[in-house]
């Protein structure tokens, strides 16, 4: 076991898969010589050469289009989109091509590309460096969508994504690259080295795509969340002294419905939290699924915590970010409803 932050864990995942599989290649803006603006690909070009770690032009549609072609010719490309905010020029290649080539060719062709994209706010990035666009891709049949919330899962999920046969959108919550973040920007940062999930095996292992993790068990309420919000939710529950069960879904598509519904049926209460905007956010899918599967077990209406339905503003970062107070208010609302039923 080694101590790694999320960047080192992702780097280790790439290193391990590139060493094991000659067909794994990395392509993206600044990923080669420089090692990526977030350093995730650091040292890889030196180790594996410039034929396998390719600096690319600033053209996300071209990066994904070329990666699809490489995959059609037997490579396993890992494409980096420097910020998830820049993924939009690639949407046609992702939604119309990457997701559907297997389907439209009746399984004769497939293109298992992994697209990594740092996402989320809390880094003073303003509206073009803070977005969480994961829900857009969960609406596309044919791609898997994952987001790890700690170094251990980041490495295991990335290896699973690269070694799997499906295209994967791999979102990395960059606010927690270096350490967990409880939503309080005034507190000194905690490094991953002090967190149990910062313990990461150096070698090969996978975390299966499509399985949620119960981060903390509890009886009062189920909090369903992912990414940076896992730690914000933990802090909020602690603040209120509520015995919350916290589920990090890790994978939005496919979704581990069984883990979620089993928990909600047991606690009878549910708060859903994500950084992305609320309207048509992934929370809507979660809420609808829970309503369908757990309705007769619910003691209170499901609450959603999310970013406001605005672009991500620069000067109002902490007014925008769904911090512990917004989670706490939602928790209080679901817990208050208890009185009404008793």
């Amino acid at each position: 076991m080694a101590r790694m932050n999320m960047i080192q864990a992702l780097n280790s995942a790439l290193d391990v898969t590139m060493a094991r599989h000659r067909n794994v290649v990395v392509i993206g803006e600044d990923v080669g010589y420089f090692g990526g603006v977030f350093r995730v690909t650091e040292g890889l070009q030196k180790k594996y050469g410039d034929q396998r770690v390719l600096d690319s032009p600033i053209a996300e549609g071209g990066i994904v289009g070329a990666a699809i072609g490489m995959a059609l010719n037997g490579l396993k490309p890992v494409a980096e989109i420097q910020f998830a905010d820049y993924i939009y020029p690639a949407i046609d290649q992702i939604a119309s091509e990457l997701a559907r080539i297997r389907y439209r060719s009746a399984g004769d062709f497939s293109c298992p590309v992994t697209i990594r994209a740092p996402c989320g706010g809390g880094i003073r990035g303003g509206q073009t460096h803070s977005q969480s666009p994961e829900a857009l891709f969960t609406h596309v049949s044919g791609v898997q969508v994952v987001m790890p919330a700690n170094p251990y899962d980041a490495k295991g999920l990335l290896i699973a994504a690269i070694e799997g046969d499906n295209p994967v959108l791999f979102f990395e919550p960059k606010r927690i690259y270096n350490g967990p973040f409880d939503g309080n920007p005034n507190k000194p940062a905690i490094p991953w080295s002090e967190h149990p999930k910062g313990e990461v095996p150096e070698g090969h292992y996978t975390v299966p795509i499509g399985s949620a993790a119960t981060v903390k068990t509890g009886d009062d309420v189920t909090i369903i969340t992912y990414g940076t919000m896992v730690f914000v939710c933990e802090a909020a529950a602690q603040l209120l002294g509520i015995d919350a069960e916290i589920i990090d879904i890790r994978s939005m598509s496919p979704l581990d419905t069984a883990t979620i519904t089993a928990s909600v049926k047991r606690t009878g209460r549910c708060v859903i939290a994500h950084e992305a905007t609320r309207f048509s956010g992934f929370g809507a899918e979660l809420s609808a699924t829970i309503q369908e599967e757990c309705f007769w077990h619910l003691e209170a209406p499901i609450q959603r915590v999310a970013g406001w339905d605005t672009p991500y503003p620069h000067a109002f970062e902490w007014e925008y970010f769904p911090g512990p107070a917004r989670v706490a208010l939602a928790l209080e609302t679901v817990m208050e409803s208890k009185g009404a039923t008793e």
Binding site: A59, G62, G65, A67, G74, E97, R102, R104, S105, T257
Partner: protein, 420 residues
Amino acid sequence: MPRLHVPVTPTRPGDTPDFSYVALSAAGAIKRPRYDARALDLDFLATGLVRVLDDDHRAKGPWDPKLDAETLRSGLRNMLLTRLYDERLQRTQRAGTIPFYMRSYGEEAVAVAQCMALQPGDMLFPSYRQQGFYMVRGRPLVELMCQLLSNTRDMCKGRQLPVMYHWKEGNIFSISGNLTTQFPQAVGWAMAAAIKEEPNIAASWVGEGSSAEADFHHALLFASVYQAPVILNVVNNQWAISTFQGYAGGEQRSFAARGPGYGIAAVRVDGNDFLAVHAVTSWAAQRARAGAGPTLIELVTYRAAAHSTSDDPTRYRPKNDYEHWPLGDPVERLKQHLIKLKEWSDAQHDALSKDLDGQVAAAWKEACRFGTMTEGPWLDAHLMFEDVYAELPAHLERQAEALQREQALNARLGLTSAKD
């Protein structure tokens, strides 16, 4: 004050056809550089027009590929087969047996000559008007027709509009209705071939209209940056449905002229001249295979038929346009060339036409045995849920079960579709 310029469409219905806007060069007039010449020395290829066959149907000049008569006859046969296949399926669509069809009438030399100039292991990324590839690479017509019928032998398992074929074993990629997406994919495929140090190259085709898409830029840029072993083809058939090529930027300069801006060798070629198309493609293939870089080819041709069976070109261009097209008809020109060489005759041509048409008719009859739209057998609707992912995920399994319940209710209510 500048006034907004609106591209000029030279003629509309009722006008006398006028193709004076097409810049022509005489057969044999354009120099043939070495295959590995520097791209920056080749600008003249992007603005001239490489032609081999002259008006008298003789081969002329340095681009003459000097193909033997057997190869020429094979080219003629493949073009003719493409045309007869198209004609029968057009009639079939009109009779209502298939919902949609797209002919390649007038541009058969593009797919046929180019495919013949490439190696069987080269990967082709077509748009929707290169059915000639399948004739050259020899896919049984029945298999293509089953796709058009979405029947039990449909290679796409009922998931694609007619003509959106693919052939893994034949190295022909699946056609997308989203235009130009295949262009950067072909470049990526070629990049992978170079990374793996394999000898095969990639080639892709788009229309001049869809060269306007951002993916055209992505493809040229990536091809240039990584010097990918790829041939990128723009089939300039003058029309994007009703929109004249000027709206894709062809009014100011040739489409081939975009190559030099990216540092890519580019050739403008008479797309209806089988010999010229073959020669230019062979040159580009040799260049790519030798690691000398990618090539952009503009094939100047004419979409003699409607865009598709859903289109009526008499509403936007003169009816008799094609009769006046200055580059003639590709089938007729190769036929006359072979006759001139005393390697072919009208009688042989008629006999071949009859034979090929018979083969097409027989194939159609056989294809229909595997199901038509009105008479079964039909594909199992469960196929709808397969191949979305490598495995069938739980939520799709549940949806497949829901469909079964829905079908059972439909049956009870008598709300069945034609095929039930």
